[in-house]
Subunit: 163 residues, 2 copies
Amino acid sequence: MPRKPGATTQALSAPDENVPLDASLDSLIGYALRRAQLKMFQQLIEDFRPFDLRPAQFSALVIIESEPGLMQTDLARALTIEPPQVVTLLNKLESRGLAVRVRCKPDKRSYGIFLSKAGEVLLKQLKEIAAQSDITATSSLSPVERQQLLALLHKVYHNENAE
Amino acid sequence: MPRKPGATTQALSAPDENVPLDASLDSLIGYALRRAQLKMFQQLIEDFRPFDLRPAQFSALVIIESEPGLMQTDLARALTIEPPQVVTLLNKLESRGLAVRVRCKPDKRSYGIFLSKAGEVLLKQLKEIAAQSDITATSSLSPVERQQLLALLHKVYHNENAE
DNA sequence: TATTGTTATACTCTATAACTATA
DNA sequence: TATAGTTATAGAGTATAACAATA
């Protein structure tokens, strides 16, 4: 059994030239990330259930609100999904009266995407639920730890070296 | 303990003296977790490409190695997937000659699952690739930060309060 | 009756090619 | 010709019901 990742394991280790790179799943950040992410998603989906809303739809609403009139290509890039997925997603939001496509651009191929009034009102509620859900799912962390985790995750996500 | 954001809770508290609960996506751990996880998965899938192997298949191999002879129900629980998914996954591993199902239990409904010799040999290689991939994807973190992140993620994942 | 593994099925998510209408 | 949005399609991943063999 490997020991728990405690505080005092790092400094004394010699430069590991040919350490076997132990990869028991518990030592892989990717694995822990996956499990934690699944758990948090489950929580959010559960908390969104009364609204019949998926996490990606919520993200879309937030992005549209923060950049009203953006094009579908922009939304695709922001969500890192493909344009065809944006179509489905937007169709759903539009049919529920939460967002609208408006032909309002010089370039008549594209739409400007906006929240409807109903979308704005609902989103306000959804944001509180999402924030509460986030805290609930991470209730084993102290506020400081939560900030640390957030910072570390952003550091991973914004890493330019990888991929 | 903040309230559950129910339907009609704040009829009177017009100005939100409450905590703003800002939920711009960047302040949500769940969102950061999702983005980071996707990025790391992409990296791993890329690094596994020469082996035509999915992350879940790798996890299965590691678990089988650590608990030889386990049943498919055990594997399902360990991977938090459903039994029917184990069937597909194992069929693939078995058809590639990496794992085997053996009727070796008192209970003749179940199989014991083992790695083949080829599975053991390949897994050794895969583990090194996975470990290297993990480090590459988190190369923006110092070793200490990596350990911190791992510990925080485990804390989230093992949180009993949530869900 | 309950459980192990299985089949069948369905729904979501994801990715790509090809079409349309503009540019 | 290139781009924005769309359609069609196919592949994973995930979840559930129902069945056969065994307990």
